[in-house]
């Protein structure tokens, strides 16, 4: 017989993912370990078969009080159902920092981050953000203070697979990196796998960000309204019927409106965004559950009224509609089915208002995907589980990339380059523990892509050896292909995202990743010291070639050039996991390299986001009950940049043209901006006002007012009368510093 059931949060009534269920036999005389399980999606769990007898079932999860149930399995009892509610452990709340993956699901290079941990960390606007927190982990970087996306172990943002309740997200961050597109109040769990991920994940080269959204509470109508200086949010949730719940969460950022009032003369870009997510959850029975998700995000960034001779705008929107159907039965299988529709649109334009059109460009990606996937978990024994599944995605892309801007380009289908393609993937993986000290995960993923004749095969292997309770040795190897390429213009500072599928000429990107390391726990497992080394190489990565030629008649792919790359480094991570003060110290030393025959005269160069040294320090402190303090400090080597290094006389253009003054540049990204470092602080106070639970927060971004360089550039004087730059003036080196000191405050009311 088996024990099945759910583990819930007693406050939110949401299922807890990853709780440990430990079953010990014959509780009167012997507490010997019998078997265990971990709760999955929605908090559900299934144990393996148990012989007749009495059992003690212990439910544990960090940040919650342990709960124990006693059960008896007899010949007539049948499968037992246990639904338990865990309550938050107030005195242990600081334990919820970064928790390692549960013992029953050993994934190398993975970290789980809970919303409780996020709530204690500083943020730019008071709006807690997943990406800002992820950036504090070793091996995770950003290209610049305001750039979108995360760069994991030398992989670019498009190489990171972002899943929201199993549905792929093309762009998980708002423009300017103000925030991710996930509202923290709607989050249930965030898992980042930094590399060598299991076979169940695919379609990307570097890493996986697996985000689970909450389902609405079935207790009563609840809500949170938060008002901040540049951003506000609201979340409502509750039951519709006994079996049907809802949650709707939305945010709006209105920084541009405040700029209009307080910074009218500022020449920095104007920025706003809106996002919302809703989830309807219907529980047919204890074995059947269906959830309908809808996410919508829209971002705008545009030129200020005081422009420098240019009119620019970038906007993107993302719409995800998905249905997730979960089925489990007493025979130890869990079946997940997902049907998704994704619509993503990105446009970016630069319009030179002077007479010249040399600087103009227009880029648009209009992408639509329909995907179906199913996977099944089979528990064969305590030591052996199998997971298998398939995924089918149909892509429809409409793309424009043009050197002049005209509004007709945004609407006329005549100018679009259209691509239809599909991906079909199958995976099989096993979790096997042949001996108590040895844990393995072996898998394979097989691909077929519509434009390619051959089938791609990807082995995925990982293994950990526990030499003792406190020392774990681990290693992993994975190969991965990526059929969709995000190709950026390197000659334009504005965002120019262009997603392009593999075609007959554009090969799928390919990576091999190897990871090795160890974990040491000490002082009663309060401290974890972890070291991981990684190496990965890339093939068939694409960028725009030098001097691309844009024309309606010229396929965009003719402007791409193919290269290879490699990334390697060592990550050190010291994590204090319990106590009144908790947090971590991380250090990464890493190298990332690219080699393209047609770029940088065929010499190796580092990408802009390469950082040799990266240090992060995170500390949370519960000063008194309801008053907490969060501090983060980060340091990294300055980002790479290509700098002018002098002028010279030369025939300016063709072989017998006239002589002119040219500018000589360094090798690509040869120079580094000054090293980056800053400290952020968050103070949060929770109280009750007018019978409503209320949180007040103060955030200070860049506490000691460090002038970190966002960019450096050579600037000439601007002649306002002629509306153009005076190139006869003496050029100066300018530095843009963003948010040297940025305090925000706000409050959130729960009802």
């Amino acid at each position: 017989m088996k024990i099945t059931g759910y583990v819930f949060d007693s406050e939110t009534k949401n299922g807890i993912i990853g709780a440990n269920i430990i079953i010990t036999k014959d509780v009167q005389f012997n507490d010997s370990f019998q078997t265990g399980a971990a709760s999955g999606l929605d908090g559900q769990f299934v144990t393996s078969r148990l012989p007749i007898g009495k059992y003690k079932v212990t439910f544990r999860n960090m940040g919650y009080k342990e709960k124990i149930e006693y059960v008896e399995i007899s010949k007539t009892s049948g499968a037992l159902e246990l639904n338990v509610y865990l309550t938050s452990a107030a005195v242990q709340i600081e334990e919820v920092i970064v928790r390692e993956i549960k013992e029953t699901e050993e994934i190398i290079s993975a970290v789980d981050i809970s919303p409780k941990m996020l709530n204690m960390l500083p943020s730019l606007s008071g709006e807690i953000d997943v990406f800002k927190s992820l950036q504090l982990l070793p091996g995770v970087k950003v290209a610049s203070e305001m750039s979108s996306g995360i760069y994991v172990r030398g992989g670019s943002p498009d190489q990171n697979l972002t899943l929201v309740d199993g549905t792929m997200l093309y762009n998980p961050s708002h423009l300017g990196n103000i925030a991710s597109t996930f509202n923290t109040y709607a989050l249930n769990d965030v898992k980042l796998i930094k590399g060598a991920f299991p076979a169940e994940y695919g379609g990307r080269l570097s890493s996986v960000l697996d985000v689970k959204l909450r389902e609405g509470t079935n207790e009563r109508e609840k809500g949170v309204i938060g008002i901040g200086t540049i951003m506000s949010h609201a979340t409502l949730e509750g039951p519709i019927t006994d079996k049907l719940t809802y949650i709707i969460s939305s945010r709006i950022m209105y920084y541009d409106q405040l700029q209009e009032i307080f910074q009218k003369e500022s020449v920095t870009p104007r920025n706003n965004f809106f996002d919302m997510s809703t989830k309807l959850n219907y529980k047919f029975s204890k074995e059947q559950n269906i959830a309908i998700n809808f996410m919508y995000n829209k971002d705008n960034i545009y030129s200020p009224p005081v422009n420098l001779g240019f009119d620019y705008k970038t906007n993107w929107s993302n719409m995800n509609l998905s249905a997730n159907w979960l089925t489990m039965n007493e025979n130890s299988y869990i079946l997940r089915s997902n049907l998704s529709f994704i619509k993503y649109k990105f446009t970016s334009s630069l319009n030179d208002l002077t007479n010249s059109i040399e600087s103009d460009y227009f880029s648009s990606s209009d992408l639509q995907d329909i995907s179906v996937k199913q996977d099944v978990d089979l528990t064969i024994s305590d030591e052996f589980t199998i997971k298998s599944g398939y995924e089918f995605i149909f892509h429809q892309y409409h793309l424009v990339n043009w050197i002049v801007y005209h509004s007709v380009l945004e609407t006329s289908p005549d100018h679009f380059e259209n691509h239809n393609s599909f991906e079909l993937a199958y995976f099989l993986q096993s979790q096997w523990q042949p001996f108590g000290f040895l844990n393995t995960n072996f898998g394979v993923r097989i691909y077929k892509f519509s434009n390619l004749s051959d089938v791609k095969f990807e082995p995925r292997l990982s293994m950990s050896i526990a030499f003792s309770d406190n020392f774990l040795l681990k290693g992993a190897y994975a190969e991965a292909h990526q059929f969709l390429h995000l190709i950026l213009r390197n000659d334009i500072r504005m965002p120019t995202d262009l997603w392009y599928p593999s075609t007959g000429n554009i090969k799928p990107s390919f990576s091999r990743q190897s990871v090795a390391g160890f974990d040491i726990y000490f002082d009663k497992k309060i401290y974890l010291f972890s070291v991981e080394a990684y190496y990965k190489d890339f093939e068939n990565i694409y960028e725009f070639r030098d001097m691309p030629y844009y024309s309606v008649k010229n396929p965009i792919e003719n402007n791409f050039t193919k290269g290879i790359g490699e990334a390697y480094g060592i990550e050190f991570f010291l994590n204090k996991r319990a106590g009144k003060i908790s947090g971590w110290l991380g250090y990464t030393i890493s190298w990332t390299k690219r080699l393209f025959n047609e770029l940088n005269v065929g010499k190796i160069f580092p990408p802009q986001y390469d950082r040799l040294h990266d240090i992060s320090f995170v500390m949370t402190y519960e000063i008194i009950k309801n008053l907490s303090l969060g501090i983060t400090w980060s340091y990294s080597t300055g980002s790479g940049m290509t700098m002018p290094t002098g002028k010279y006389y030369f025939t300016n253009s063709e072989i017998d043209g006239i002589e002119n003054q040219n500018v000589n540049y360094s090798s690509r990204n040869e120079y580094n901006l000054p090293d980056y470092h800053k400290m952020d602080l968050n103070i949060k106070y929770s109280t009750t006002m007018f019978s409503l639970s209320t949180d007040f927060f103060i955030n200070i971004y860049n506490l000691y007012n460090q002038s970190n360089a966002f960019a450096q550039y050579i600037a000439y004087d601007f002649d306002a009368k002629k509306n153009e730059f005076d190139y006869t003036s003496t050029p100066k080196l300018n530095q843009i510093t963003l948010m040297p000191f940025f305090p925000t405050f706000g409050f959130a009311v729960k009802f």
């Binding site: 001097m547 002098g646 010279y648 072989i655 500018v663 000589n664």
Partner: protein
Amino acid sequence: MLLGCEQIDVIESNIPFQEFNVVSGRLIGDSSSVKISFTKSFPIELNLTREDVALKEVTAYIWSETQGIFTLKHEKDGIYSPVNKLYIIQGIKYELFAEYKGERIYSVTTVPKEPIIADVKLEGEYLKCVVVPNPKSVYAAKYSIKSLDSNYESYVDSIFYEVTSKLADTLNTIEVRTSNIPIVYFENPEKYKVELILYSLDEPYKDYFSTRENNKPIENIFSEGGGSVFWNVSGKNTIGLFMGYTKTVIPIQIN
């Protein structure tokens, strides 16, 4: 609070500067006009004349296996010419040897032979020339407008639309085109004479051409800086182009 969220500072430190020797030489087939330029690069903040940056003490010569050695002497503003007359012959390889402050500079180029012209015609708004390419040569074209009436000015196109090379061994001919020509020149054949100037260039020119704009002047703050250019002159801290080419002028008959 919001006023402090951004700022643009002028950095007090100087713009990085790295000094390079710059070599520029063109060898034109069937010509004896040989001028090689040796200059040095200078900081962006400065406005220096060619005389200011001229390298006047370079020891240099051109070597050809069939024609021998031709010593170069400084004339003015970093321009060097052969002491003895050097007539550039099509199909011949020329090597440039130089030394400046103990550092050696070297380059080599072959002056292409004129190709066989298979066809020249007006294709829409541009001229197209079909040529039988020679090995290790690349091709580009300009148009030239010569006024038959003194009331109108003559004009030579300043840009190559593209540089074309033989892509596959199976192709016997390649097509070389000019940039678009204003139609007015074709509508008035009594006033203008149109010519196509075909350039046969040494093979490395194609790499230079495809990267040359990486050294364009800084235009606006939205443009990311340039990058590296393919040069065919080697030497410590030295950049430059030493290029052989041959011009073929083809008159165009407009019906």
